[in-house]
């Protein structure tokens, strides 16, 4: 038998197998029951508008606040990590290693449970969130800052050393050089991995459901889904919530893919090693490994 013919036969057999499985499932699956369990249009209808106006809105709100907080603190940590003053470097390194090394959920326990119980510290509610939701978001900020710090550090180190030398030779101070020359270039290179972190942050807001529990106004998509699943005794809310997440995340992941394709084409002036590190960061998504 010629090699070509054999390849064709194998490929044909693979298709036959696939069709057989599909036909089997179509005949023997209990479609009525499946639909009853997983997607009842009238239950789905009842979830609206709350699933959008409360749950999805809260998910986006928590993400936005955690992103801004994580961005600010993360940038600060990255600068500390690269500081010529050794104790600053140590502190930043310890922070980053600790909060990347423990599960995010544990950190959220710390801000939502340990802080009020053990230390009698209650984080006040803000931006329309109850004290409980605020504590959860603060936990998320703490975790996000650690991951963002590593992204920023890679971005800063990807800016060629000659840029700093040129700026210093023009008489700019170290801080002026960082602000006017290095950071603008670094932030441009980290936009794709940062967007990736944003997507991961969206999903991580699910961890806050433990903190908000039954407070209806504070429920994000996951807390909302759990309540509705229990209330209806049906999986429809799960499907609807999953779709809501995908509507938010898929455009963003596509945006990252597009930015990376464009970034690879334009080459960029950054050091190759650091650039590869960035790409790796944006692929595995620092937060994703939790």
């Amino acid at each position: 038998m010629r090699k070509r013919t054999r390849q064709r036969l194998i490929r044909g057999a693979m298709y036959v197998l696939l069709v057989a499985i599909v036909v089997f499932v179509a005949i023997f699956a209990d479609w009525d029951n499946l639909q009853r369990q997983f997607f009842q249009p009238d239950i789905a209808r009842e979830l609206f508008p709350d699933v959008v106006l409360i749950a999805a809105t809260n998910t986006i709100k928590f993400t936005a606040i955690a992103f801004v907080g994580g961005f600010t603190i993360g940038l600060f940590l990255a600068l500390m990590r690269l500081s010529p003053v050794a104790p600053y470097r140590w502190l930043a390194t310890i922070y980053i290693e600790v909060f990347r090394g423990i599960p995010a959920l544990l950190t959220i326990f710390a801000t939502t449970l340990v802080l009020p119980i053990a230390l009698n510290v209650r984080i006040p509610g803000f931006a329309g969130m109850s004290s409980f939701a605020a504590a959860g978001v603060v936990g998320l900020i703490i975790v996000a800052a650690a991951y963002f710090a590593e992204v920023f550090r890679a971005g800063i180190q990807a800016v060629p050393k000659g840029q700093t030398e040129a700026a210093r030779s023009l008489g700019m101070s170290p801080s002026r050089t960082m602000i006017s020359i290095v950071l603008p270039q670094a932030i441009r290179t980290v936009i794709p991995p940062l967007t990736n972190e944003f997507v991961l942050l969206i999903k991580d807001t699910a961890l806050i459901f433990l903190a908000v529990g039954g407070i209806a106004a504070d429920q994000e998509l996951t807390a909302f889904a759990r309540d509705e699943i229990q209330q209806f005794g049906n999986a429809t809310p799960l499907i609807v919530t999953a779709i809501m997440y995908l509507i938010i995340t898929i455009p963003l992941t596509q945006l990252v893919a597009w930015m990376e394709r464009r970034g690879q084409r334009s080459g960029a002036s950054a050091r190759p090693g650091a650039l590869a590190k960035l790409r790796q960061l944006s692929k595995q998504g620092g937060l994703g490994a939790r």
């Binding site: 000659g162 030398e165 040129a166 210093r168 030779s169 008489g171 002036s269």
Partner: protein, 255 residues
């Protein structure tokens, strides 16, 4: 119109650059092993030598991009190795041009020329723009004001880099192999600009492999090898009649 950066103790009557027993080590490796030289105001001093001879390190020590491990460096009479010296202020008096141009890729050509004028010398936007345009005109790139570095050829980028350094109205210019990263056909345009600058009386210290430039423009030629000055003198006589055998060996390879 051109204000000087207030810097106490600068004495223009002193040599622009003077090094005394300058040493620099990277770990175990001793790159500069006692360099004594003087560059006087208005002089063009070319530094040549095989790669690894320490000539770039020497140049980079002069504005403290490398911290010397021994000896002293005087810029217009001020010992810049003294930790109390405001090095940022000294650097505004010394223009530097790099082998890799090092233009700021996120800024337009005009912004490249004005950012340090604005942020360091605190010039007004209008004044900084005016000086920047004048310097761009001098290097023949007035039409590239709004371009970004990536849109320019290597030769154009290097000319912008020279204009950027000149925008600070420095007293002297350091050139670190300014044409080594250029395609051969682009070398001429950069050398032309440097030649013009020398003619105007700019004090220049130039690390280069362009022997023709050194012969024609240089007032003094320094040949370095293994971290030391091996031979020094009037460029034409050093190039045509080298005394030291290491100079002879090097020149026989490059000329």
């Amino acid at each position: 119109m051109i204000e000087m950066t207030p810097l106490r103790g600068l004495r223009p009557d002193e040599p622009a650059i003077k090094t005394v027993g300058l040493r620099k080590s990277f770990g175990e490796l001793e790159v500069l092993r006692g360099i004594d030289l003087a560059v006087h105001a208005g002089q063009v001093v070319c530094v040549v030598g095989p790669s690894g001879s320490g000539k770039s390190t020497l140049l980079r020590c002069v504005n403290l991009l490398e911290q010397p491990t021994g000896g002293q460096i005087f810029v217009e009479g001020v010992d810049i190795t003294d930790p109390n010296v405001e090095i940022d202020a000294v650097r505004t008096r010394i223009g530097m041009v790099f082998q890799q141009f090092n233009l700021f890729p996120h800024l337009s050509v005009l912004k490249n020329l004005t950012i340090a004028q604005r942020r360091v010398l605190k010039r007004s936007q209008a004044e900084a723009d005016k000086i920047a345009r004048k310097q761009l005109d001098r290097v023949g790139l007035s039409d590239k004001v709004d371009a970004y570095p990536a849109q320019l050829s290597g030769g154009q980028q290097q000319r912008v880099a020279i204009a950027r350094a000149l925008s600070m109205n420095p007293d002297m210019m350091l050139f670190d192999e300014p044409t080594s990263a250029l395609d051969p056909e682009l070398v001429g345009e950069v050398l032309d600009v440097m030649r013009g600058l020398a003619k105007e009386g700019m004090t220049m210290m130039v690390v280069t492999h362009e022997m023709g430039f050194a012969r024609e423009v240089g007032d003094d030629l320094i040949f370095m090898d293994e971290g030391m000055i091996v031979e020094q003198g009037e460029p034409r006589s050093v190039l045509e009649n080298p005394q030291n055998e290491r100079t002879q060996a090097f020149l026989s390879k490059v000329l």
